[in-house]
């Protein structure tokens, strides 16, 4: 975690209202792990007082470059989309805990809904670099919202679902998971909360459907406390959560969601959690 200033190298509209921005930010690129995020400052614009969190979409340690991919949804992202190459953007990062990949996992399933792509995008690169097979399931509302396959490494198997059936599978991206749940050693999801909750339900019943004995795993899990890296690595599903943030470093308790072990800070214990750590139907 560091306060740094990234020079905007390239800013382009990737999809309608969605921007991809590439920064020169060696410290960020050097320290980042897939699943972590940065907190971006929007200075002196329109009375904004909070930073904005974005997933580290890609990073390249050698070139010292990192990128974010965001949708313009309000004043903060509107400001960011107006920045031009050469502008310096203040960032705080890398923040939070990233995805925990078990060294033994050969088959990695990524599931992204909409902008959730930015949450798992770097993991695709990382998993391929570690010689894992990657299937990426992507859901969008309609064809024009579909993330272009040209921006993905060729080795990724990319499967798309659209709500209106205008591209790929007609229906929800979670409909596609069944085909890969046996194949996948681990699954990593990012997207709207209802999608993640659906994924969590799938994951919770997966061993029943597959008839996989999970006793061994459970036994080992008991030794590593819930939320530890080891426990997360052993969970079949990890999800990247979103919540409004103040500090992004764990100080303000603004981003807290309810976990099975009590309140959890998305910025510190997350944004990535094992699905079992989340109280999906929390009653406060």
């Amino acid at each position: 975690m560091k306060l740094l200033s990234g020079e905007l190298l390239e800013s382009r509209q990737l999809l309608p209202g969605q921007w991809l921005q590439r920064f020169h930010a060696p410290w960020l690129a050097g320290g980042a792990q897939a699943g972590q995020f940065v907190h971006v400052r929007t200075p002196d614009y329109s009375g904004l007082v909070l930073r904005r969190p974005f997933s580290i979409n890609t990073f390249d340690r050698r070139s010292g470059e990192a990128s974010i991919h965001f949708r313009v949804t309000g004043k903060g992202t509107e400001w960011l989309a107006r920045m031009r190459p050469g502008d310096q953007i203040e960032m705080l990062g890398p923040l939070g805990r990233g995805f925990e990949v078990d060294p033994k996992s050969r088959h990695v399933l990524l599931v992204a809904g909409g902008l959730g792509m930015a949450g798992v995008r770097a993991l695709a690169d990382e998993a391929l670099a570690d010689n894992r097979q990657v299937v990426l399931l992507f859901g969008a509302s309609t064809a024009r919202e579909v993330y272009p396959s040209s921006l993905l490494p060729a080795e990724v198997e990319y499967v798309v679902a659209t709500d209106d059936g205008s591209f790929g599978h007609s229906g929800r991206v979670t409909d596609l998971v069944g085909r890969y749940e046996a194949w996948a050693d681990q699954c990593f999801a990012c997207g709207p909360e209802p999608m993640l909750a659906a994924m969590a339900r799938l994951a919770a019943t997966r061993h029943q459907r597959l008839g996989v004995a999970r006793l061994a795993g459970r036994g080992r899990g008991r030794q590593s406390p819930r939320g530890s890296s080891v426990a997360r690595r052993r969970a079949w599903l990890q999800v990247s959560m979103e919540q409004n943030m103040g500090c992004a470093v764990g100080a303000c308790l603004g981003c807290v969601i309810m976990g099975t072990d009590g309140p959890q800070r998305v910025c510190r214990e997350g944004p990535v959690f094992a699905s079992e750590e989340i109280e999906w139907d929390a009653r406060w």
């Binding site: 975690m1 560091k2 007082v49 909070l50 930073r51 103040g246 500090c247 764990g250 100080a251 309810m258």
Partner: protein, 325 residues
């Protein structure tokens, strides 16, 4: 000049032995327990840290979302999530005991007994530099705020805590009090060592789909620059009502803000919301204040305190005269 550099005194005496190196504090709830920002901030340089509100028992806080942005401000409804006084003493006080920066524990409760009991448990514990009594938190169903809006309630809780502890005691005012001077007087009379002003104002935001309030708890406390004119007014009013030191809080984000609060009568300030955008701001403000004092040839920033108060100038009439057009 060389001599001025050596002798500049930014220290602040908040009473009962709580002497700060400098007048820039960080506000409760925005700086956690002082450990979270350690990687990016030189925490030990800060005047004092007011830690997150601490209650007798642990609290899970409010449902999310808990924060959102508003024009030049933000709303929060954390709901006083904290591990309880026992948890705070176990987890954080040992760290604080080794720190140079004093940590003031912000204490919240729903009854006088709650406050007293927390104070009693903090008494004599290593690492605890003082207590800030949060009688003004608008984000809990019962409790807090009622003490802050009524002089008798404010006086009673202050007196009870005062009787229970010898720790330096600062009481935090709400900007929502109809006449904050009567509250401040009651608190001073009950034996508080200092006042901090202010906490947040109750506000709300609507969800983007407009089918519900945005915050999980409906209401939240408004903080940030938007609050500053109100907080400044409270400090200015209170400074004319009591003689104990006042710590200004509300939208501090620049040296100008610090100087404004000092001119209005605050001997120190707390930085809250602004830390989120700029974590290094508090430390920078210390340096900027020192530079300002040197440039003005001051021996101490305390020469700036209260400069805009009416004692020092002619008081304007408070209402328009009538005229015949």
């Amino acid at each position: 000049m060389g001599r001025a550099l050596v002798t500049l005194d930014l220290s602040v005496d908040l009473g009962r032995g709580l002497i700060l190196d400098n007048p820039i504090l960080v506000a409760s709830g925005t700086f956690g327990y002082g450990v979270e920002y350690g990687e990016v901030v030189d925490v030990q340089r800060i005047g004092a840290i007011c830690c997150k509100g601490t209650t007798l028992k642990p609290r899970a806080g409010n449902p999310p979302p808990r924060v959102t942005e508003t024009p030049a401000g933000m709303l929060n409804s954390i709901g006083l999530q904290n591990p309880g006084v026992k948890g705070v003493l176990e987890r954080y006080a040992p760290h604080w005991a080794g720190w140079q920066v004093p940590v003031v524990v912000n204490v919240a409760g729903e009854s006088v007994d709650d406050y007293v009991e927390v104070a009693r448990r903090l008494e004599g514990q290593p690492g605890i530099a003082g207590i800030e009594l949060n009688i003004s938190c608008p984000n809990v169903g019962k409790g807090g705020l009622q003490f802050a809006l009524d002089p008798d309630g404010a006086g009673a809780v202050t007196a009870a805590v005062r009787a229970a502890t010898d720790l330096p005691l600062m009481v935090k005012l709400s900007p929502a009090a109809p006449d904050v001077r009567t509250i401040a007087r009651a608190i001073a009379d009950a034996g508080a060592d200092a006042l901090s002003a202010t906490n947040t104002l109750s506000g709300m935001a609507i969800d983007r789909r407009r089918d519900r309030p945005l915050l999980g708890n409906t209401y939240g406390g408004l903080s940030g620059p938007a609050l500053k004119p109100v907080a400044l007014r409270v400090v200015y009013e209170v400074a004319q009502a009591v003689r104990i030191p006042i710590v200004g809080i509300g939208g501090v984000g620049s040296l100008d803000d610090v100087l404004d609060f000092m001119a209005a009568g605050a001997v120190a300030v707390q930085v809250g919301t602004a830390v989120f955008a700029d974590p290094t701001l508090p430390v920078r403000l210390i340096d900027e204040l020192a530079a300002h004092c040197r440039a003005e040839g001051l021996q101490t920033h305390r020469q700036l305190v209260g400069c805009a108060l009416p004692a020092r100038r002619e008081r304007p009439s408070t209402k328009g005269v009538e005229y015949l057009p």
